[in-house]
């Protein structure tokens, strides 16, 4: 394919909604899902005379994100007006940042097929979201809901360092994970708290100059981004092969059709006439505050994965899964440390715990089985006091009742019976009930031991200690 002569060059602009209670410049709720225009006020409706006042939480979350992305956080940054007309942009301008943004010069590490790679982050800046325009709700009309107008965003702009759609996907996944760890956003493309615009160009391999870039928008999943990039790259390569020029355009991705079509943008019609926002003073962050922000950054995914690999003998797939979210990995680690058995903890967390979360829909911090409780259960099993099968039953009861493992085991009589007299009684019954297998086993068919153990386990309702049953059977058979 002609694509092999060319190299894909990709930069991504990601908009992330910050998880604040109120909007960036007014006290209206930033919550999702309220009735249309229920969360509005003179400020976010842009009524005459209303003025913006900055939300300190938005500054905190934006700053944390910038620091976690390795950026230099600037002690002074300036808000600017980006002027354009659109019905869900009530002021006719968006308060954003232009030539003096909050942070610059960061980087994000991604895993590629050829190993680790650093993707540069040009800048992180603060801005406000616009409202929503619904074009198909009422025929002939566009319905405007300004609940989202004024919700705080950060825009994260990468350097054009990505060279494939896979790298772009890896960047987005890493970025998302870091932001989740920081708890600064829900970062959900489906819900709109994370949006991606891609800039892509093609150049001959080995060429230094960048090709003309196009902008691709309207993707609503990470895989959508990857497919859109591949599509556009192929289109550009085909044009270049024919000796044609690439026009600087904006294209909209159509996921259903699997193609990007040109949005008819007039050349030069986007003159945003940026100037410093006169209704706000510059954002000044003092040294102490910046240090507090830096200190508040939790262990980030890359570091955590490294540490898990060193401290716990679990597989890299397990590490990947367990570090996917801060709360999950905190839970796992707590259980692992308390029980002293990371492997078991990993299994339980990725198995029963995850299943319980999926079924009940509760969040991890609402789950009744706390890490210490799980650790206790793990210890009971490891010490042979309950069987693994019983363990699952105990876990289920723990979820329901919130009672500790040992208590549930006792209450439900699930403690393994290691008492020889009881075991002997069951063994005798099994031998009576299964004379054929028992006879052959006792005559020397050792491979039937497992079957007989199984019968004993069934008869005991899972409570018999299989190890001891094996021992007793063996001594019956006369073996050692």
């Amino acid at each position: 394919m002609s694509d092999e002569r060319y190299e894909m060059v990709v930069g991504l602009e990601v908009h992330v909604q910050l998880k604040t209670k109120s909007k960036a410049f007014c006290g209206c709720s930033a919550d999702f899902g309220a009735p249309p225009n229920a969360n509005t006020c003179p400020v976010c409706l842009a009524l005459p005379g209303a003025l913006p006042v900055l939300n300190e939480k938005a500054v905190e979350l934006a700053s944390r994100a910038a620091v976690a992305l390795g950026c230099t956080l600037h002690p002074v940054s300036v808000f600017a007006r980006k002027n354009y007309f659109y019905p869900d942009l009530p002021k006719g301008y968006q308060i954003s940042q232009f030539d003096q943004p909050l942070a610059t010069n960061g980087k994000l590490e991604i895993e590629t097929a050829d190993g680790k790679k650093q993707i540069g982050i040009t800048r992180v800046h603060m801005e406000e979201d616009a409202g929503k325009s619904l074009h198909d709700r009422y025929p002939g009309e566009t319905a405007i809901d300004l609940n989202r107008s004024g919700v705080p965003l950060i825009e994260i702009v990468s350097e054009p360092d990505m060279r494939s759609s896979a790298e772009a996907g890896a960047y987005l996944r890493s970025l998302r994970q870091i932001l989740l760890y920081l708890r600064v956003s829900d970062v959900s493309m489906e819900e709109g708290s994370l949006r991606v615009d891609a800039n892509i160009s093609a150049r001959l391999k080995g060429q230094k100059e960048l090709g003309t870039k196009t902008e691709v928008k309207n993707m609503n999943s990470f895989s959508g981004v990857e497919r859109a990039l591949d599509f556009e790259f192929a289109r550009q390569c085909a044009l270049l092969d024919r000796g044609e020029k690439i026009s600087q355009q904006t294209l909209l991705w159509d996921a259903a059709k699997g193609e990007a079509r040109v949005s008819r943008t007039k050349e030069g019609s986007h003159d945003y006439r940026y100037f410093p926002e006169p209704d706000l003073l510059p954002l000044v962050l003092d040294k102490n505050w910046i240090n507090e922000i830096k200190a508040s950054i939790p262990e980030l995914p890359a570091d955590r994965k490294k540490r898990f690999a060193e401290e716990y003998r679990i597989s890299s797939e397990e590490i990947e899964q367990l570090t996917s979210a801060t709360d999950l990995s905190d839970y796992f680690e707590s259980a692992a440390r308390e029980s002293g058995d990371p492997k078991a903890a990993a299994n339980w967390v990725m198995g029963e715990v995850q299943a319980a979360l999926n079924i009940s829909g509760v969040s991890l911090d609402q789950l009744r089985v706390r890490p210490a409780d799980l650790a206790q259960l793990i210890k009971l099993i490891r010490d042979g006091l309950v069987s693994h099968a019983a363990g699952k039953k105990i876990f289920a009861r723990m979820l329901e009742t919130g009672k500790p493992a040992a208590q549930v085991a006792h209450d439900e009589s699930l403690l393994k019976v290691g008492d020889d007299s009881a075991l002997t009684g069951w063994i005798d019954e099994v031998i009576r009930e299964h004379p054929d297998e028992a006879g052959r086993y006792l005559a020397g068919e050792k491979k039937l031991q497992g079957v007989l153990v199984g019968f004993v386990m069934k008869k005991s309702g899972g409570k018999a200690d299989p190890k001891r049953v094996n021992q007793l059977l063996m001594s019956r058979a006369g073996g050692g």
Binding site: P48, G92, R273, P278, L280
Partner: protein, 494 residues
């Protein structure tokens, strides 16, 4: 009960009488409305008042009376009728900025300045005529027609706060609110023979003031005497959490100083007053020059040392202003699009037309001109040469003030305007109109407080003298003004 000489009673005096029970708020409201009728302040007369509602005002008056009865006392402006420029948000009466694009708009929230005045007992009785969106120097740019100067109805009131200035001059209200971006309180105050004050930028909250040029706008007070203007200003001043540009500087007792010096024969002893040469150009009207010199003599006799000073960047002020203000305005007026409030053109059949037809029909020619100018100077390729350059020159103008005030000068004295009130329709060239702001605009650009007070008449028309003080130097400014006002006495109105 009807109030004798209502039209010349000060706000302080009225408030005292209402506070003591001598008058009830309903009386002052009635007197105000009756005076408005008597002078034909409405649309078919002087055209000073755009919106008023007697029943609404009387209802406010009776609520006030109830409140006073419960509290056992009245506020500092108890029962004082207040006229408000139509670009300041009030509940009850419309806020249209004298523009078709806001026809019928009643604000669902009120400006902080209004809230604070109401808390002291003031009653809003009228929204006054103005140049559309505060863009103008004559109140001829109103969608509702020009306002007429009570001193000579063929002449302009000045602008953009012309309606408010004239309402005070005509005796309809003792105090009124205007707004300043380039002299829009001081200039009409000078033309109408009253006191007009612009505070330090950030002194009074802009929450509820419809924005024209955000880095220049301030609400100002207008009254027939310095004390009323100072009192009203003091009540409105102070930090407002709803305005990020409002200052946390403490509001110092503006009246204490001059009150304590009231009986002192040399109340300006120890003060140095600068007279900048640039405000007395060769071609200054000789009558105005004469009155200014008379005032300077009065200042000397009050104990002040008067010296000549230089403010060389002064001639650049108009060009700077007419780049910065329209630029910010072009952005501030983008929200008037027919979507969420105000006028929406019926002619439009697409969204695109909704914007362009609404805005073209809704805005008058001066507003359109300034939006185009402002958009141009911000547009790609011109931003650096125009807006950015103008802001840099603005900093130089501010430095001029800093240099003079830093050199021990406590206040400056200048004429307020280069001419007296000109005839309605007398100036048609836009740039010539802009030049009426030549002495006032510098204070807006630098953000320093400035005020105008009557210093005499030329050809029977009022002339204003201007006092400019350093940032947050309102106390010094009022001190000089109060003393000068007393010294001039009735001569200021002759």
């Amino acid at each position: 009960m009807s109030i004798t000489n209502f039209g010349s009673l000060s706000a302080v005096a009225l408030s005292a009488r209402v506070g003591s029970g001598d008058l009830v708020p309903a009386d002052t409201v009635a007197a105000s409305f009756d005076t408005a009728d008597a002078v034909s302040a409405g649309r078919d007369g002087l055209n000073l008042i755009l919106w008023s509602n007697r029943e609404l005002a009387l209802r406010d008056a009776s609520s006030l009376a109830e409140g006073m009865a419960k509290a056992g006392k009245g506020g500092l402006l108890a029962g004082v009728p207040l006229a408000v420029k139509d670009n300041i948000a009030t509940l009850g009466l419309p806020t249209t900025c004298a523009s078709k694009i806001l026809a019928g708009y009643v604000s669902p929230y009120e400006a902080t300045a209004i809230i604070r005045l109401r808390e002291e007992g003031a009653i809003v009785v009228a929204k006054t005529n103005m140049d559309e969106f505060a863009m103008g120097s004559s109140t001829e740019n109103s969608a509702y027609g020009p306002a007429h100067n009570p001193h000579d109805v063929r002449r302009v009131t000045g602008g953009s706060s012309g309606g408010s200035a004239a309402a005070v001059a005509a005796g309809i209200v003792p105090i009124a609110l205007g707004s300043e971006t380039g002299g829009s309180v001081r200039q009409p105050a000078a033309f109408c023979g009253i006191v007009g004050v612009k505070p330090t930028y950030g002194r009074v909250s802009r929450h509820g003031l419809v924005a024209f040029a955000s880095s220049l706008d301030q609400i100002g007070t207008m009254a027939r005497n310095v004390d009323d203007a100072a009192l009203t200003m003091e009540i409105m001043s102070g930090l407002d959490p709803f305005d990020s540009t409002s200052s946390s500087a403490p509001v110092g007792g503006y009246r204490d100083q001059y009150m304590s010096l009231a009986t002192n024969p040399a109340p300006l002893e120890g003060m140095k007053i600068g007279v900048p040469a640039e405000y007395f150009p060769e071609n200054l009207d000789p009558g105005i020059r004469q009155l200014c010199l008379r005032s300077v003599d009065a200042l000397k006799s009050l104990g002040a040392k008067v010296i000549d000073v230089k403010m060389p960047q002064t001639p650049l002020a108009i060009p700077v202003y007419y780049i910065v203000a329209p630029a910010e305005a072009s952005s501030n007026l983008a929200r008037f699009d027919g979507v969420r409030y105000g006028f929406r053109s019926e002619e439009a059949s697409t969204l695109s037309e909704l914007y362009s037809i609404t805005r073209s029909e809704g805005f008058g020619p001066e507003v359109t001109r300034r939006i185009l100018l402002g958009t141009y100077v911000l547009s790609a390729g011109y931003y650096d040469a125009y807006y950015k350059k103008a802001q840099a020159v603005r900093a130089l103008i501010t430095r001029d003030f800093g240099a003079v005030f830093g050199d021990g000068v406590d206040a400056l004295f200048t004429p307020t305007t280069p001419t007296t009130a000109f005839p309605i329709g007398g100036i048609t060239d836009p740039y010539e109109m802009y030049l009426s702001d030549i002495f006032t605009v510098t204070a807006n650009l630098a953000g320093v407080p400035a005020m105008s007070l009557p210093i005499g008449r030329v050809g029977g028309l009022p002339v204003g003298g201007q006092i400019i003080a350093p940032h947050f130097g309102e106390a010094a400014m009022f001190r000089v003004a109060y003393a000068l006002e007393s010294a001039l006495g009735q001569e200021a109105h002759q």
